[in-house]
């Protein structure tokens, strides 16, 4: 594992935050289209409480749309999405926080104020919102960067702050839309280890959208390979070593390599 990832890694020595009991996610017969354009075809997917579900598919296959449906930003054309017992859009919105592909940190706010946005939106006073976010900064290796403006942070650091912003929202479900797509390969591998540690320290139900098969198989418990638009499930795989402590070892394990080849094969199938 790269030394830098350890340096920034989640510290296990600090006291754990409140645990989420977690809620499961269920998607049944969900279809969606934009006007005439069919984007999603009859999908069924499940994620247990605090499980990590990966969605892999070619670009433009409707993965981001599916995340928006899950997060309650849109309603599906047909079918039903439930987070716990919340089935309608506003219920899902209350249970799910979205981490967009680009970090979208607000450039006029410091890192800590960006991370604390959800608390401020809910009416928490600035001081206590900052204190609550600062706790996470310490736990997730961002100490000392609280006052930095986003422009002063590296790409990896910005993604970390963006992830903390999603975490601080305190929602049981996190929808992560290609969170590391914009990073270089080394930073990306570091961030995958970091996220794995973060999720083990603070488990949530996660839906992770990515076009990187390796990323999905390393971070997720289950991975659904989606076809080109309209999206349908080509194959569902169990990850052999979800969030194993040593990423480099995990991704070179023969079992992992086999799973990766299967997923890549399914991805190619789905693009036809």
């Amino acid at each position: 594992m790269p030394a830098k990832a350890k340096e920034f890694g989640a510290s296990a020595a600090l006291p754990s935050l409140k645990r989420y009991d977690g809620v499961g996610l269920s998607i049944r017969g969900v279809a969606h289209s934009y006007g005439e354009l069919r984007t999603i075809e009859e999908l069924d997917l499940e994620a247990p409480a605090n499980g990590v579900l990966g969605l892999v598919g070619p670009s433009g296959c409707g993965k981001s749309t599916l995340l928006e449906l899950i997060a309650g930003l849109q309603e599906p054309l047909s079918g039903r999405i439930e987070i716990g017992d919340a089935g309608d859009g506003s219920g899902r919105l209350a249970h799910c926080a979205l981490m967009p592909q680009r970090d979208l940190l607000l450039p006029w706010l410091s890192a800590i104020d960006n991370a604390a946005l959800a608390l401020r939106n809910r009416g928490t006073r600035r001081g206590s919102a900052r204190r609550e976010a600062a706790e996470l900064f310490a736990r997730f290796g961002l100490s000392g960067f609280e006052q930095a403006k986003p422009a002063e942070l590296s790409g990896g650091m910005r993604q970390r702050v963006a992830f903390l912003r999603t975490l601080v929202a305190g929602k049981p479900v996190l929808a992560l839309d290609e969170p590391f797509a914009s990073l270089d390969a080394i930073t990306r591998a570091e961030m995958q280890s970091w996220l794995a540690e973060a999720l083990d320290a603070d488990p949530r139900t996660v839906v992770l959208v990515t076009h990187d098969v390796e990323e999905a198989l390393y971070l997720c418990d289950r991975v659904a390979v989606l076809s080109a638009r309209p999206a349908r499930i080509v194959e569902e795989l169990s990850a052999p070593a979800a969030r194993a402590p040593d990423r480099d070892e995990a991704v070179t394990d023969p079992e992992f390599v086999t799973a990766r080849e299967r997923a890549l094969h399914a991805l190619r199938e789905g693009m036809r």
Binding site: L93, L117, A118, A169
Partner: protein
């Protein structure tokens, strides 16, 4: 250092050239004019000093017209810009008209404003506010819509209400636009004030310029114009400085 030094040197050279051209009578000869109509920078400076209380009195009047008119235009522009954000139908109706209105030389309405608002500071404020209003309102409306739709989705999943979206996301996003609009307004404001005074006034730098023109008192005319330029530059500079302090993320 070089950023300031070079323009300053060029300015000094231009003033020097004008001094030579005016004091030797070269310009007056070329234009077949009485040399008294072409004052040198030294004569303008002298007029500036000798008429200092008269100029200050009139500059104060014009300064008030410019600053108060600008603030009025700014307040109205911001108000309308923000009002159009939540009311999409209203925006669709009003925005094209606001953009089109920028092509209209609003100054030509100055005479009617004098009729409506009487002599005194009223019509000048109206002209200045009007020329500042449109660029600021349009810039504000543009800025509030320049928000990344992905950021809106992100904020919604972070439990932002409509008011919080406006205050925490859209308003800061619009700030650079608002400042651009304000700077355009600030360059129009002195022209608006002078036009307002030309249509009808008893004091002000514009009024004084008109008077000195009739009296062929060219050195004092130039002195008044110089003060007007100083006011305009100061207003613009003040806005640019505020922008640098407020919009730190660009």
């Amino acid at each position: 250092m070089r950023r300031w030094l070079l323009p300053a040197l060029l300015l000094a050279a231009l003033i020097g050239a004008w001094q030579v051209a005016a004091s030797t009578g070269a310009v007056a000869d070329a234009l077949h004019l009485d040399p008294i109509l072409v004052p040198s920078p030294a004569e303008v400076a002298e007029a500036l000093w000798e008429n200092r209380s008269l100029l200050a009195e009139n500059a104060w009047v014009t300064l008030q017209e410019i600053v108060l008119g600008f603030l009025l235009g700014l307040a109205l522009g911001l108000g309308v810009g923000f009002l159009l954000r939540p009311f999409e139908t209203l925006r669709l109706a009003a925005y094209p008209l606001m953009v089109a209105s920028q092509a209209i030389p609003i100054l030509v309405f100055a005479p009617i404003l004098v009729v409506w608002f009487d002599y005194g500071i009223g019509p000048k404020l109206a002209v200045v506010a009007l020329v500042c209003f449109f660029p600021i309102a349009v810039a504000t409306a543009d800025g509030l819509r320049a928000v990344d739709p992905e950021a809106i989705k992100m904020m919604r999943t972070l439990d932002a209400s409509r008011a919080q979206l406006l205050w925490r996301l859209e308003a800061p996003t619009s700030l650079p636009f608002v400042f651009s609009g304000a700077k355009i307004g600030a360059t129009f404001a002195p022209i608006g004030a002078v036009f307002g005074e030309w249509v009808g006034a008893e004091s002000g730098l514009g009024h004084l310029i008109l008077q000195d023109n009739a009296l062929l008192n060219t050195s004092r005319l130039f002195a008044a114009a110089f003060l007007l330029a100083a006011i305009a530059l100061s207003l613009y500079g003040l806005i640019a400085l505020t922008e640098r302090r407020v919009v730190t993320w660009r």
